[in-house]
């Protein structure tokens, strides 16, 4: 999951719902049962899920762009094939997630339009540019790494179709993370230029990766509700800490430094202390002011517009064939 949405709405909406139904629903969720599309659910639950799942789907699709930027320039045939397969996986993730969201009564076209109009969000991380080949390593290692951390708990999320989509997705994400780390490892052991490339990539991607877990817990208005509904299972700060603790030793193992002067191991906590994320930057990127936000939306808009005649042709052709078939029967 990619936590960027900040709106604290949706609390007041449950007013007129049958208290007994709500109570039964809450009990099922508390009991770790899966809620299925045909089951009754509070409107606010449905809306929150649509927002969260579609935002996740959009992130997968927009996330194809920064890495797609290097497919044609991958340094050898093996890396090209791996990267292409990886980006293709992300497209597949988008598909599973759109399908999961559709079970809640929203169409893919509606979700796409919400993305393109700026109404729906996607992960802030994809608004940063991929400048060198090392960025492909950094994304796999850090961004997919952070995504895994967010997503693993969601395999047990309360909404059945979402949980099942997460199971499929998580299987592929660990391959993504490994290929990214492997690229970084290779660069870090390479020529001085390659090493510089690798360090520069972690310098640029480290903080945006920490932002992927969303605002700090005390500024995350939906967390409590979402935890109770089991559509979130750990808080943003817990996940962020976990990510830092796992990733820092990985960086050091390949001779890269982490761009945080405040970073140090805290023996008493058994965890790393680390510096404050630049939350002002985070909120600006959420508002759509990330460095390449315009390029990302322009690319999605162009694909959508340029593809309109293709989708229309496919639809018309299918209709023609269907009616020809009926006429023949």
């Amino acid at each position: 999951m990619y936590t960027t949405d900040l709106s604290g709405k949706n609390k007041a909406e449950a007013v007129s719902e049958d208290a007994a139904k709500v109570a039964a629903f809450e009990a099922r969720v508390a009991n770790d049962e899966f809620i299925e599309p045909k089951d009754w659910m509070p409107e606010a639950y449905r809306k929150t899920l649509i927002r969260q799942i579609s935002q996740h789907a959009h992130s997968e699709i927009v996330g194809m762009l920064p890495e797609g930027n290097w497919i044609t320039r991958a340094p050898n045939l093996r890396r090209k094939a791996i990267l292409l397969a990886k980006v293709q996986d992300e497209g597949g993730h988008g598909l599973y997630l759109y399908a999961a969201a559709e079970t809640l009564g929203v169409s893919r076209d509606e979700m796409t339009e919400a993305l393109l109009s700026g109404k729906a969000k996607y992960s802030t991380i994809f608004n940063y540019p991929t400048l060198t080949w090392a960025d492909i390593g950094a994304i796999g290692w850090l961004v997919d790494g952070a995504a895994i951390m967010n997503q693993v708990p969601l395999q047990r999320t309360s909404y059945g179709p979402y949980a099942r989509a997460m199971v499929r997705i998580c299987k592929e994400e660990s391959f993504h993370q490994r290929q990214g780390y492997e690229i970084m490892m290779h660069l870090a052991q390479g020529t001085p230029e390659q090493k510089r490339m690798a360090q520069d990539a972690i310098d640029r991607w480290w903080w945006p990766s920490l932002m992927m877990f969303g605002p700090p817990d005390d500024k995350s208005p939906n967390t409590e509700q979402s935890m109770r509904w089991r559509i979130k299972r750990e808080t943003n700060d817990e996940l962020r800490q976990k990510f830092v603790d796992i990733t820092v030793p990985q960086a050091h193992a390949i001779g890269l430094s982490v761009p945080d002067p405040a970073l140090k191991w805290n023996e008493a906590r058994g965890a790393h202390d680390f510096g404050e994320v630049d939350w002002e930057e985070f909120y600006a990127v959420v508002r759509g002011e990330g460095p390449v936000a315009k390029e990302r939306m322009q690319a999605r808009q162009k694909a959508w517009d340029d593809g309109a005649w293709v989708r229309e042709a496919a639809r018309v052709h299918a209709e023609k064939r269907a009616s020809a078939k009926i006429a023949a029967e």
């Binding site: 320039r73 293709q88 390659q194 229309e312």
Partner: protein
């Protein structure tokens, strides 16, 4: 020598078309289309690795598939002109795929039966892939030809762009003749009637007619390319050129 070139031609065809298709990744008309184009690109890049690896092995000068893919200049590339053509719109991409994949099916069917097992093994594996590519492309030709007025016009324009490069697929030269003698060759000229039949059948289903005959544009097999290939290579080979000797 000529068997090296022969393997290299096969590898170059797949490599350049795979590279072209990968340009679509993230930008296709629908997610499903994006995934299917990426599938085709992946298959082609896999074929390129095998054929170029074989070319390097036959050559025996220590060049592997990557050395051949990333460190040759335009005049040493031996792919047909068709595969290096720009993607254009989706119809142009489909037109290119349609003409090439049907050729590739027929070609690889023969190559899979070749005496030289190195070629035959790669061909047998690739044949399964390209049969799917041909079906995919044909389905789109029909959808677009039989879809809307706009899609029909675009499909016609796409075929029109690509048509001058179709003849080159079937041209035989000394390299082909030597490959046949060596037990690895295919009589490409003999594939033409079957190819025509396949193409015509799909076009008929799509409500399209075959583009008018025209003078063939040739040269790819001997390194005389279109202007487009140099740009494709400068992008594809950038890292290997900028950091000679580095491994990735």
């Amino acid at each position: 020598m000529s068997l090296t070139i022969y393997a290299q031609r096969l590898g170059d065809d797949s490599l350049i078309l795979g590279q072209r298709l990968s340009e679509w990744c993230g930008h296709a008309p629908a997610i499903e289309v994006d995934l299917s184009l990426a599938n085709v690109a992946l298959d082609l890049i896999g074929q390129a690795s095998h054929f170029l690896g074989l070319a390097g092995a036959i050559e025996g000068k220590g060049r592997d598939a990557d050395a051949l893919a990333f460190r040759r200049d335009v005049m040493d590339f031996t792919n047909c002109l068709l595969v290096e053509q720009p993607n254009g719109d989706f119809a142009q991409t489909i037109a290119r795929q349609f003409l090439f994949s049907h050729y590739q099916v027929l070609f690889l069917e023969r190559l899979a039966a070749a005496q030289d097992e190195r070629f035959a093994a790669i061909a047998a594996k690739a044949l399964k892939e390209v049969s799917y590519h041909a079906t995919l492309a044909s389905d789109w030709v029909v959808r677009l030809g039989d879809g809307t007025d706009e899609s029909k016009a675009r499909m016609i324009a796409g075929l029109d762009w690509m048509w001058r490069f179709a003849d080159e697929l079937f041209v035989m030269d000394d390299v082909d003749a030597a490959a046949i003698t060596a037990g690895a060759g295919v009589d490409k000229a003999a594939l033409r009637p079957a190819w025509d039949q396949r193409i015509d059948a799909v076009l008929a289903d799509a409500g399209l007619v075959r583009p008018a005959a025209r003078r063939a544009t040739l040269g790819g097999r001997t390194g005389r390319h279109s202007e487009h290939l140099g740009h494709l290579l400068s992008e594809m080979q950038f890292l290997q050129r900028a950091y000679p000797g580095a491994t990735w």
